[in-house]
Symmetry: C2
Subunit: 286 residues, 2 copies
């Protein structure tokens, strides 16, 4: 029987990053007299969104980044929403803008995404930022895959030439995750709901990254002995938060694994902070 997998501790690494950011913000505050600021547009009152936003604000507060929530009514018109966004786009004190998804059905997401100032688009919704990712340019990257890459980096996990399967091909996780891995010269397969035999890919992979939103999708028989398993799923089952991986069984076989909660999630939030700080520094230099 093999040893248990090493736990890739996203919470600890996130805290490490938060401490680094906190020190840098403190220093910049002394020099500049102002701190970075994140603005979150929140349309409606979805409780899950509300509690996630609270968490983001609490962590911003902890590291000294100012945060504000622009609360907008569910029934806001497309035009009024774009006007609110434009105010943030043009406000010199706002460094990062997040638009909490999902937006109400009567709002055209595509229009809103393309209206964010790319320089403040820290979650890389705008095509310009996502395009820079394809050509390996320097721009914002969606925070969740960015956090996974940061986790690889902080655990010194080499990617070049590794066989990696990404399960899920969403615009905000699966596709950008695949592009980031390709830019590091990993061999990348992307499986999804239409894939005939996902196990045939995951079984041969050195690294499996799952972002499908399906509890227990990845079972122990689907994973190679010693593989690294990154679980980006967040699902609520019987009042508990679980990922997409059968954690208890898979950790007996994998070489390293992220827990849920405490894995990819805290890394995502750390990247929000990091990118807000990055925008602040770039705006200072303009």
């Amino acid at each position: 029987m093999s040893e248990e997998a090493m736990i890739l501790d996203g919470s600890a690494k996130s805290k490490e990053i938060q401490d680094e950011i906190s020190a840098e913000v403190e220093e910049l505050k002394e020099e500049e007299g102002v701190v970075p600021k994140l603005s979150i547009i929140f349309v409606g009152d979805n409780p899950a969104s509300a509690s996630y936003i609270k968490l983001q604000q609490r962590i911003c507060n902890k590291v000294g980044i100012e945060s504000e929530v622009v609360d907008l009514p569910e029934e806001i018109s497309q035009e009024d929403l774009l006007d609110e966004l434009d105010k943030l786009n043009n406000d010199d004190e706002v460094n990062g803008i997040l638009i909490q998804m999902p937006l109400p059905d009567h709002i055209d997401d595509d229009k809103v995404i393309r209206a964010i100032n790319p320089d403040k688009d820290i979650d890389a919704f705008h095509p310009y930022n996502i395009g820079e990712l394809v050509i390996d340019g320097d721009a914002y990257v969606p925070c969740t895959p960015e956090g996974v890459m940061e986790l690889f980096d902080r655990y010194d996990i080499e990617l070049r030439g590794k066989d990696v399967t990404v399960v899920g091909h969403s615009n905000i996780v699966g596709k950008p995750m695949a592009l980031l891995l390709l830019n590091e010269n990993a061999t990348v397969s992307v499986c999804h709901i239409d894939t005939e035999d996902t196990a045939s890919y995951t079984k041969e992979s050195d690294i499996v990254i799952v972002a499908a939103g399906v509890p227990n999708l990845i079972t122990a028989d689907m994973v190679k002995e010693g593989a690294i398993v990154i679980d980006v799923g967040i699902n609520e089952v019987d009042g508990e938060i679980v990922g997409d991986v059968d954690f208890e069984k898979v950790k007996e076989k994998a070489g390293a694994i992220t827990p849920v909660p405490g894995g990819a999630g805290p890394m995502t939030i750390a990247m929000l902070l990091k990118d807000t700080l990055k925008s602040y520094k770039e705006m200072l230099n303009k």
Copy 2:
């Protein structure tokens, strides 16, 4: 012994598209009094580039699209090149702009690419257009992968749920090719120079697309019986143009295959025409 592969005739399909475009241009010319125009920026005098540009111009001429080459000296400064580009960006008579690569070493490609008017960027060099591709939006797509998708479409080749391997991960072919396939819900693996065992991917694939620039890279033992093989490579060997696939042997095993020349190449040029026409129509509607 199996039957020989069906030849996917890019030349014939390209001609079909050219005829369609020619008819549409003729009609638009009568209505509008002007024809679409493609401008090609050519820095220096690389003979391979010069002959490819001649070919493009000949085909533009055939379908009634106006083309011009902006010939610039090898030693042109970055600033002067950007000035020339800007003239085309702002010229209402120019619908499509191509920048012939490679550019001289003293020119910063990244700056030039980001300076093209995205509305005229028919080969999708600009991050904005490439980003639209990631989020499955409507914008220009690099012409070579676009041509491969058009070939699939015109041969009624279904992609959803198919296992596809793309060999090569360049910014202008491999990566956009993978994204286009993912947007059609194929399962996509991308192999490249750092891949440990490319054959382990290609052997299991329903479709193999190769854009590596290495003659005979894909041999018969690497291909599944009945697979579809698309050869995007263009290499000169002993004065002959060959692709990346060992065509004679692979065609005994594959179900369908593109020849080189006469496969992906003519489709690329057809897409240039199609996208120039698209830009012309969009500019009319502004």
